[in-house]
Symmetry: D3
Subunit: 242 residues, 6 copies
């Protein structure tokens, strides 16, 4: 099977981290294709960034047909419903996947994200996916996305934030709130002695499970059928479906 992991940030270095995390958990018979978006923001740290990362994500899906699953590697899960309309296999976001796998590991999980301005989006996703009773809280570690890899103190700061989140919320598990943290899950989990879920690994695992079952996005209600064709114009003219 083949799983396509899309980094909707245009920062290629981040894609390397994501790809490595994906490959470290993939089934022996699963190929990971890691793709970097070719348009939009270098990193996603605002609603503005997130909205403008979606065209690049949709372009990446269109440019990589035939996979058995698509993973959107940004914790805001941008463009998920649109992606489901156009992809020919299941699509998951890493926030969604991380919460689904963290929920059964204890009473509640806590989310630790990057900047505090991203907390709101995480809160919305928690409610949207139905995990309001399973999420004990959302916290920020105050490290910008692109500094996660370059700041030598990242692991220590994040470990401290995760440890405090567990205690404050009375939670049993941690969900890491950014694809750029994917390489730190094991280390932090060992340090704080608690399950720490990275959404990239979670997403690859869930997509493999779905692929093995022949899972696909359902279209019976009509919502996720292919979009009606129509004229697109201006800078987005190329998104017209021919």
């Amino acid at each position: 099977m083949r799983i396509c992991v899309i980094n909707p940030n245009t920062a290629a270095a981040m894609t390397e981290v994501i790809a490595a995390a994906a490959r470290s958990v993939a089934r022996p018979d699963c190929e990971i294709v890691a793709v970097t978006s070719t348009m939009g923001p270098e990193s996603i740290e605002s609603h503005y960034d997130e909205a403008l990362a979606v065209p690049g994500l949709l372009r990446a899906i269109a440019d990589n047909p035939g996979a058995d699953g698509y993973l959107v590697a940004c914790f805001g899960d941008p463009g998920l419903d649109a992606a489901r309309e156009v992809a020919d296999a299941p699509v998951l976001g890493i926030a969604e996947a991380a919460m689904h796998l963290a929920a059964p590991l204890g009473r509640t999980f806590s989310i630790v994200t990057t900047l505090d301005r991203t907390i709101g989006r995480a809160v919305d996703l928690v409610a949207h996916y139905g995990f309001a009773g399973q999420c004990g809280g959302v916290h920020a570690c105050d490290i910008p996305v692109l500094e996660l890899e370059t700041n030598p103190a990242t692991a220590d700061i994040l470990e401290k934030a995760c440890s405090e989140a567990l205690r404050t919320d009375g939670s049993d598990a941690i969900v890491l709130g950014c694809a750029g943290m994917a390489d730190l899950a094991q280390r932090i989990g060992a340090a704080i002695d608690a399950p720490v879920i990275d959404g990239v690994a979670a997403g690859v695992g869930m997509l493999a499970a779905l692929a093995a079952m022949g899972g696909r996005t359902g279209t019976a209600s009509g919502e996720f059928r292919a979009p009606p064709r129509k004229r697109y114009s201006g800078a987005l003219q190329d998104f017209e479906i021919s």
Copy 2:
């Protein structure tokens, strides 16, 4: 005061309908500036269309600074949070506005939208804004957006759908689920003897109310501060905030 009404569909004829609805309810001292998006889908009927309408919406806000309020005239309320980060005045979506004004008019309201594939998005918005207890149901009239103005049977079909929605849901009011229906609210309300709320008129009224109070988007939590600056690339390079 000046209110900027943005049609995120690129269909200019639809903007005319929207502008007329906005002007018909505006305060005597309120100027309505109606703007058509210059990029993206001609009409919004899928998650794909909606996602790709957001860049044009954000461009329109940037190109029309200084208004006392911005109204996003598409019932999917696309790009609302991103718009709030960059606009210097309150931003409302027409779904949001319509629900806020319909809620106090009875026990529950029913939403009547265009194609049934758009029902899911309306259901999400109902939950997101907190109106799950106030919305009796979401229904489709099965008319595509661009046919609303050209199909001579639109008013009759929509009236019938509204009437059935009231009865099926036991509701007291109707919310029209598309900006392109804005010219029909009065007629249908008279025909079915019930309050029928169009989001364009509702949005203009709420924005005027906010403007008169000096309302603005709050930034205390950090979520809605101006987005961090960063490199944008590819077809969306121009969205980089300088």
Copy 3:
């Protein structure tokens, strides 16, 4: 258009504050009629007061027919459903109006009310209107209603309470929890650099929006039709509908 603002407290000085707040935001073509209840408690600070303020409110509506909207200027929103059955135009409470206008201004709003014994009622209204996810918390400033105008420290105390509420709840906006605070919204908003919503101004704005659209209370479900006629007796005999 004409909007009737009813103070269900019998304290006439409070009506002056309310009327001024209403007129300061009203459309140029909107007449504000401010009415003081003629029976019941001087101020509303308990469930007991609130219940006994309702007859005076209903009497005031009956005595002022023909308005385009009625605003109940007490943050407990007393008698709203009863008022809707007998008024010939939309009826709003100031708690309801304030929450509807505050919700779109940020992630969450915080409510600051008078005595802590009134917090429970505000919590009930938050849930009833569907704003449990939008309200970050309800706080008291511990000033009795009638002291709001006479205590020279009111503005400072209230400003401090609002500032703390924002920080404690991580909110973006404030809702003032008493009609008697209506004159302080602008000043406090400037002081704490956040949107501060007064329900009187919010209610006038929403009612004007509804009036411009021809809005009215819906009667299709039967709940808000005129009440069945019947015998009334005792001290309330005059409330029998003839």
Copy 4:
């Protein structure tokens, strides 16, 4: 022990039905004092009626001090919070009591009320008390309150409505939605072979349970302490607490 059952309708014949139902289930050592309100509507069938029944209810409590519990015998549970502030023993409404006793008897219960205009209030109470997951639906039998005793077809009509409610909602139990139906619970329960809960009997049982435990309304949060004293005026001047 002594339990005071207050009929907030001024119809004395209805008080007889209520008193009989209360006495039929009371503990051997429990005295039932049945009181008819002396002011307000003859029967309660609208929000207007309900609001105007509250002063008479509060007067009846003040006139009957020293009971071990007070039951408000109207399914709208009017004035409950106000009554709790002034009564020196626990206060229950019959809707509240009926739902608390019906919930443990099956998966869900269905409510059958009088006129369909009263459905909305029942829906509000269901949500307010937390029984949204336990209530399968609210239905009307279309018999006005005062006809319940005089219409010879009442029992048959009500039995049919209850039977249909069970089937439509897939419920296991019925809650009767009016104090005037108190004499029919046993007969209907036998006819439809399902538990049928009358709120008057339920309330007497719950109040006796609370009285035996020394239960009382808690005042720690401040909400239910005695109301602050203040000036009352007009027709309600006598409600001023001296």
Copy 5:
């Protein structure tokens, strides 16, 4: 009437405490039959204990037919739905009963349980019964079940925990979270000047109320009909219904 109170812990001393609490509130015409489980854990302090207490509970019900009500005297309410299928009268758990009787006594109640590992189960029950809006919080006093009777400091520790819970949660009432605390409700209530509800007393009161009304578990939906007969094997062979 006869109410059967079953202690699903096998500790007989605890049954004495429970029986005394039950008898102290029972109607004069109500016989209390107190039964100790004959198999499973001595005390229930984990999900493991709770699961393994259920067979003994079901055996106790089968061995004591003909009661007018059955009370499961463990705050985890183990085996309630199974018990309802096989008992010929209503079945209540003490958590369920305590919450139903505490809810009407104030804005919110707080639960104080034994070990903090039992908090999660209480949180689940709060949600399951619909009391999420009525329960202000769940707290532990850190005393193991079997030490409740033997530790001379129990009353002081528990009183302190209850007092702190009231203040932390802003609650009006306390629910004691273990059958072994049944003898302390009166003393703690007096000490902290707030209603303190013990589930054993609450359950006896609610079951008596139901018995007086002829209440029984409803079977219309099919869920609570007698279980289908089938082969049982191994150590649980005797549970096969003949």
Copy 6:
């Protein structure tokens, strides 16, 4: 890796179906160990059966230490929390797993279970896991568990029930509500052209994903630590943890 799939029904033929479904989706490097419970009911079709299946399930976990994950193959997810306290690897129920994997495949999923008396338990699980907004409805096909394999019409009846559920609920996906249906997911999915999720396959996939990430049940809150040791007696004496 090794995943232990436990059939808490004592019917060995059913274990064969379950094991085959598990192996058909397992990673190439994953060994499936399928275990049949040795005590309790032959099939689980009531709350009574379910409660009495838990001891056998807990025994099976104790008898099969060292797996990387445990799957409880009964759609009522019996004994899950108890199993988590004693297992040294993550534990999933098939209802839980199926819902987690079905949720991302569309707007809502519908559950189709065996007898209608089991609908209530499924409804409880939907709420407990947070999927109330993702589950469109729960339906029964009216085939007893042990007839699923022997009744030649099973596939046709189930296919029809799934098809009707999709249409009635407006859902996009189906969740099969019994481990005994595991062999029919592919066939029914093809027939109704919609994703059909079997919990056994879903559970194996999720457990493999968790195992690859080093997932484990979190113990930070204390709830899922090993149970306190204590005396067990009677027929369950062997469950005492030494």
